[in-house]
Symmetry: C2
Subunit: 200 residues, 2 copies
C-alpha cells in the first residue's frame, strides 16, 4: 500500500501562509511568495505554469501530479471551487466534511464527501493502488498526524522569511512526533525539498 503524503511549501521560518489569511485571501498577505516556484505569476493554472519547470523542481512537482488519489479538507476544497471536479488526471478526490457536498459539487463523479478521516484514507489508498495519496490542507494534515494516518511529509522550503502568518501544523497541538528524514533535494530558485516519514 502506498503512502499518504502531505506536500507543503513553507518559508524558512515555518509559515505556510502570510498573515491575515481567510476567505478571499487563502494564502495570506505575501503568501503567494511560497508558491512562486510553481506559479511565478502568483496564480493561474498549476499544470500550465509547471511546464516551464526543469530539474529538481520539475521532479518535485511531478511527484504531486503522480499521486493516485486526493484527501482534502472541505476548507481547502471549496475555496478552490473543487478544482473544477478534477485535481489532476481524474483521480478520485475525498473531501472530509461533516455535511454533504454543496449542490455545485454534488454531481461530480470523481468527488466524494466523507465524514470519517480513517475511512477516507483507506478508500484513497485503495483507489491509488501503488501510487501515493496526496494529502491537502493544513488542518486535515494535523489531524492525520494526531490520528496516526499520515505517512510522509514533503516540505518545499522556500528561501524567504515571512515574519508572520500561519505555521505548518498550526493546529497540531500535540508533540513531539518523531520523523525519519527520507530525502533532501536541492531545487532551483533556492527551494529545498525535504521528505520525512512519520515514526510510529
Amino acid at each position: 500500500v502506498a503512502a499518504a503524503v502531505l506536500f507543503m511549501s513553507t518559508s524558512l521560518d515555518g509559515f505556510v501562509t502570510g498573515p491575515n489569511d481567510g476567505p478571499g485571501n487563502p494564502l495570506g498577505d505575501g503568501g503567494a511568495r511560497l508558491h512562486e516556484w510553481i506559479l511565478p505569476e502568483g496564480g493561474g493554472d498549476h499544470r500550465a505554469a509547471a511546464t516551464r519547470l526543469t530539474g529538481v523542481n520539475r521532479q518535485a512537482f511531478d511527484e504531486v501530479m503522480a499521486t493516485g488519489a486526493v484527501v482534502t479538507g472541505r476548507q481547502t476544497f471549496e475555496p478552490a471551487q473543487g478544482w473544477g471536479g478534477d485535481h489532476h488526471d481524474g483521480v478520485p478526490v475525498y473531501v472530509l466534511s461533516r455535511g454533504p457536498a454543496p449542490d455545485w459539487a454534488a454531481g461530480w463523479p470523481g468527488v466524494r464527501y466523507v465524514d470519517d478521516l480513517a475511512f477516507a484514507m483507506g478508500e484513497a489508498k485503495r483507489a491509488a493502488g501503488e501510487r501515493e495519496v496526496l494529502v491537502h490542507g493544513a488542518r486535515l494534515a494535523a489531524r492525520a498526524v494526531r490520528e496516526g494516518l499520515l505517512d510522509e511529509i514533503q516540505v518545499h522550503v522556500v528561501p524567504v522569511l515571512l515574519g508572520s502568518g500561519r505555521s505548518l501544523f498550526d493546529t497540531l497541538g500535540t508533540g513531539p512526533h518523531d520523523l525519519e528524514r527520507v530525502r533532501v533535494l536541492e531545487g532551483e530558485e533556492g527551494v529545498t525539498h525535504l521528505r520525512y516519514r512519520l515514526r510510529r
Copy 2:
C-alpha cells in the same frame, strides 16, 4: 569583514522551543529534543558533549565554536549565567541591554553590556576579524533582521514535529525578507543544516 550569523536548531514545523518556555524552562516543554544532536543527555556542557560528534554534525558544531565574537540578548545571556564569562575560547561577548551589567557579570573582562545593536555588531565584527560573529537569541536576531544587521542564518532542522512552542523569528513581524540559499548539509541523526544569506 566576516558575517554575523544566527545559528539555530528548529523543528520541521519551525519551532525553536517547546510550549510554556520561560524563566526556569528556557527550552519549553520537550524543547530539549531540538538540541539532542549536540546534547543527548538534555543538558550539560556543550563542548564536552560535542567530542562524540563526527562527520557533518561535527562540522556544524565546530563552525559555531570557530566564531570570533558573540552578540547576544540579555534574556539569553543572563539565564545562562553568562556562560561563566566565557562562551568559548575567551572571545568577546557583547550583551544587548538597556541597563548595566548585573554585579555578578560586571567584572568579567570578556563581557561588555551595550545598548545599541548596530554598535555591538560593529564592535563584534572588528573583534572577530576574519572569523564569523555568533548571533545568539531569537528576539535579538529578529531585530537584527529588521535593522539589516544580520548577514546569514544557519538553521539546524531537527526531524521532529513539536506541534507548539515559539516559532523561529516569532517576533520578526515584518516580511518578506528574501534569502539566498548558501549551503545544504545532510547531517547525522536526520539533522539537516541549511545556510542562507539575507538579501539586501
